[in-house]
Symmetry: C2
Amino acid sequence: MIEDKDFCHYSGLFSVASYEQKEIMTDSVTQLDYSQIMAMESRKRAQLINSLGGFKSVCLISTIDGTGSTNVAIFNSIFHIGANPPLIAFIVRPDSVDRHTLSNILETGMYTINHLNENIYKQAHQTSARYAKEISEFDATGLTREFKNGWKAPFVKESRIQMGVEFKQRLDIALNGTIMVIGEIKHISFPSDCLCVDGFVDIEKAKSITCSGLDSYHTTYRIGRLSYAKPDSTPNFVNIAYED
Amino acid sequence: MIEDKDFCHYSGLFSVASYEQKEIMTDSVTQLDYSQIMAMESRKRAQLINSLGGFKSVCLISTIDGTGSTNVAIFNSIFHIGANPPLIAFIVRPDSVDRHTLSNILETGMYTINHLNENIYKQAHQTSARYAKEISEFDATGLTREFKNGWKAPFVKESRIQMGVEFKQRLDIALNGTIMVIGEIKHISFPSDCLCVDGFVDIEKAKSITCSGLDSYHTTYRIGRLSYAKPDSTPNFVNIAYED
């Protein structure tokens, strides 16, 4: 079913032609109000609300405690805060396996954030199992610790994009008892052939993946990069120009 | 170049066979330390750091002010906070076009979050242009306001996954002057054929897209859903079972 009449009310700088307008399905839509959302069984609601957050940055966060025990855990609530200084944050649920990650970060002040790729997403997912504190998820899942550049916390060797991060701030979210952990990026590793001349790193070329909901993993296919938006023009495609 | 010797140190429950181990490129790696990151030209560093945050949830956030003027702007720092209550958050840069979104939310207490799809990503990107306050990005880009369910702020009609959100809390991040805005999801619309029996919404089937960096848009291809991780087993694929 196509109802172009509902969708093609373009005006201003935009036209159907310039956007290669495609079919829009106008099939059945489910609408839920607040009472319906809250009446759902809790695991079902968790699946629903996690899905609606959209595709997410999913990474392995690795830490070390004061005795040298290492930990690695998957997180799917990682987000950019700013580039100057280079800040990155994630959300911790203290009642979950996340708690080892948090306590290690608070103890040693440093951690690593490592992108997932298709070769390691199953091991990465497995790190969310409730292993005892004395078992390192590295040993349990076969992921490899990589110590380098004088960074105390291990990187995940199989990850192609790695960041060494220094703890900066903890923000407690009273609304639901979660904690936002903000860190500064101090070290970066990525495949050299993925760097573009403008500083953009082609994480798709590096085989990084994304996730949706609690457990769905996805590769990506670039539609395009768009030019910086200005009021008096429409966005153009930007060429992907890699550094030599 | 393949160096399996470096990559295949699996132990415990995992074996090369069970993970269909694939080739890992061990080509040249670029490593940057903190002084190199900070020495970069600022726009280049912004591209770099934004890329490294991984694939992101990219949505249109729409608001209305007290006089009835509407606003719609693209945000790529949206993240899940929790499902009970259903909380979602995003990061605002007060010195950018984001400021109209923030001031409207603080004035009226409500907004909508609308997923992007391939049909509207160019218009969505264009909303980041610095339009004057009196110009609505709806009119400038051809996106369509949809008022429904008694929600004061408009939804984006062309979006297939829409949320009506009530403002809950503002958290100022002193480290760089950004602001985290947390809201509670009060209304949800999605295509009925994308709902799974366990509450998961297949946002890939709904044609939602993701972004990387500041300007790169990507469709997705599901590798698989994985079962809940337990210490004594390896994850299995979960069937995608849609509701009737």
